[in-house]
């Protein structure tokens, strides 16, 4: 996990540099300070399982096998990106590796993941789905409909509610009057627990349990991971609404990577050298990845027309482009 934590944080740092150079074309979203829960929860899945990440779940996608160069290409809208420049950032899928790209309207992925898990159940496949939702996204109607549907159909789905204190500038207390987001599970008659989201081992263990239960036919469950969004909503956000000392407090005393490093060292599971080696490996891989794609071309305009439909795959639609003269 240390490798993936480092990879996530470093890749986001590279993206910030590219953003400052104007190479990242749209917005840039960071998971600084909450990478732990992404990485640890995804780590609890097996091959064949599918997760649906949000914008801050870069770590989850990397664990599933998404390659840094794909992420870089997506952010830079390269023709070589998984969506050939049509979609942004983490919005792409690979069902073989086990992830489904999100769309922006929050909450919508929960019903979709419920349906993916319904197919697992109907077919009797021992596969599990995992879906993330923020403290903000949990206010959407689709969250409610999706979790309720999953719960009543008892499909093998794990819902991770990321309680990171903020939804853009809105603190959780203005989003919902529940203090514990795990209590939302009670509305659906499913197990709901709260874990320390910056304790990667705790998140891993809790997800592992929920995934095992789902795989054994135990249906849907919900895990609230408590963490903190240390950067703004997106790179352009100056975060002035977030108390500075609150950010500093989390950074200084409750960073998921720092805490994991302390555990690794404390338990003697890894040495400083091991970790340096991992860091170097990450650095080298990212150097290669950036170099590999930085000069890739953007897609050509006319490529925008295909694949609106399976059939007809492409249609001549705009008369005015072909007018003579």
């Amino acid at each position: 996990m240390f490798y993936y934590l480092t990879l996530t944080r470093s890749l986001e740092q590279r993206l910030v540099n590219l953003y400052r150079q104007g190479k990242v074309i749209g917005g840039l979203y960071s998971s600084l300070g909450q990478e732990g829960e992404s990485v640890a929860s995804a780590y609890a899945l097996q091959s064949g399982d599918i997760l649906s990440p949000l914008i801050r779940n870069l770590g989850s996608m990397l664990v599933m096998g998404a390659r840094p160069v794909e992420i870089l290409r997506q952010y830079m809208a390269k023709q070589t990106s998984p969506t050939a420049g049509r979609e942004m950032n983490l919005h792409f899928n690979d069902f073989d590796l086990g992830y489904l790209g999100q769309i922006s309207p929050l909450g919508d992925m929960i019903p979709v993941m419920a349906g993916i898990c319904l197919s697992f159940k109907v077919r009797g496949e021992p596969r599990v789905g995992l879906v993330y939702i923020g403290d903000g996204g949990a206010s959407t109607g689709t969250f409610h409909e999706g979790v309720n549907f999953a719960a009543v159909q008892a499909v093998p789905l794990v819902v991770i509610v990321e309680h990171n204190g903020w939804a853009y500038s809105t603190p959780t207390a203005e989003q919902t009057a529940t203090l514990r987001l795990a209590d939302k599970a009670k509305a659906y008659g499913i197990p709901g627990i709260t874990v320390d989201g910056n304790d990667v081992l705790a998140v891993y263990a809790a997800t592992k349990d929920a995934v095992a239960r789902a795989r054994e036919g135990g249906g849907t469950s919900l895990i609230e991971v408590v963490t903190y969004r240390r950067k703004g909503h997106a790179e352009h956000d100056d975060q002035r609404y977030q108390p500075k000392d609150e950010i500093a407090h989390w950074a200084d005393t409750n960073d998921p990577v720092d805490r994991y490093v302390a555990t690794l060292l404390g338990q003697g599971w890894a040495t400083d050298d091991d970790m340096d080696a991992a860091r170097q490996r990450v650095r080298a891989e990212l150097d290669v990845a950036v170099a590999e794609c930085e000069d890739d071309p953007l897609p050509e305009g006319a490529m925008a027309l295909s694949q609106v439909y399976a059939s007809p795959p492409e249609e001549e639609r705009l008369w005015f482009r072909r007018l003579d003269g």
């Binding site: 419920a114 409909e145 549907f149």
Partner: protein, 326 residues
């Protein structure tokens, strides 16, 4: 041959596809034990089991979203809206998630969303809608609107086999009012995207679909009898994709067009059809393209109000005569 209603033809089509392909699932409110509010899936759960015929909570967005997810995994879910009016609750899911899935992320989403639409049944504002225009504007969706029993069967089967998401608008007024002899042995499949000439004619074209096909045919008969003019009735069958060629061919023949739809006028599908004819056959027009549609109001409940708001045969006849005389 056996005489079947529109509803029975639809039921048969669904049933045959469930038999043919075990990936076909049915999801919706009260579709299982009850067989659906209009009994379209009566007996399905007994035959195919609870795993394939699923009674869902009252959660239109979740039902459509779940169907999409299962479709990504290779299944072919058919979603019933209890009334098409409630499809508006899944508007975001259909337009933002489902319709864009292939384009933005290469995802295959072969779902069918079907249900009863349309008025003339004293259903009031929330059980009489024709929400086709709301989705007509969304690239990535296909829209079908059968008018006949044969097409009710042929189009549901084609919709289920189609690799794109299809919204299938049944007309509840036709459910038990339209009957047709259908062959029992052969398979009926109506290709998506092909219009049908419901009546051949030379003096005027009426472009229409769904229940309005019958009002157009009635009008054509009246005009033939009383005015001696010959009216072509084109049943579009599919709104997305639209059979422009069939429309243009008919316009080139008759040179006058009346578009008739049950839905309200402003922003209705007729506008697009008028624009396309104008663009592609302007020089062939011997009169303005006319529209007969519902008034721009919700569908009211009281019979005289509903009858006033929705288009009637006499409205079609009147406009057709005006155009013929132009």
């Amino acid at each position: 041959m056996a005489e079947v209603t529109y509803l029975e033809a639809l039921r048969q089509g669904l049933f045959e596809e469930m038999e043919r392909d075990k990936e076909v699932l049915i999801l919706g409110q009260d579709v299982g034990k009850y067989g659906g509010a209009f009994k379209v899936t009566e007996g399905f759960q007994e035959r195919f089991g609870e795993a394939r015929v699923i009674d869902t909570p009252i959660s239109e967005a979740a039902i459509v979203g779940a169907a999409a997810g299962a479709a990504h995994m290779g299944m072919r879910p058919v979603v019933e809206m209890q009334f098409m009016d409630f499809i508006s609750c899944a508007y975001d899911m259909l337009t933002n998630y489902v319709a864009t899935a292939r384009y933005r992320a290469g995802l295959s989403t072969p779902i069918v969303v079907r249900g009863p639409s349309g008025g003339y049944v004293r259903g009031g504002p929330f059980h009489s809608q024709n929400p086709e225009a709301a989705f007509f504007h969304t690239p990535g969706l296909k829209l079908v609107c059968p008018a006949t029993a044969r097409d009710a069967k042929g189009l549901i089967k084609a919709a289920i086999r189609d690799d794109d998401p299809v919204i299938y608008f049944e007309h509840k007024y036709l459910y038990r009012r339209i009957k047709e002899d259908l062959p029992e042995g052969d398979e009926i499949l109506t290709p998506i995207g092909q219009a049908r000439v419901a009546n051949e004619g030379t003096d005027l074209t009426i472009v229409t679909w769904s229940a309005m096909v019958w009002k157009a045919l009635e009008s054509a008969e009246i005009i033939e009898k009383e005015d001696g003019a010959s009216v072509e009735v084109l049943d579009l069958r599919t709104l997305l994709p639209m059979d422009d060629e069939a429309i243009i061919a008919s316009v080139r023949k008759t040179n006058k067009v009346l578009i008739v739809h049950e839905d309200t006028r402003t922003g209705g599908v007729a506008g697009e059809i008028a624009a396309r004819i104008n663009e592609k056959a302007f020089e062939w027009l011997d009169g303005p393209i006319m529209r007969v549609t519902a008034h721009d109001t919700p569908v009211p409940y009281a019979p005289p109000l509903e009858d006033f708001v929705l288009p009637q045969t006499e409205d079609v006849v009147k406009s057709a005569r005006w155009l013929l005389a132009y």
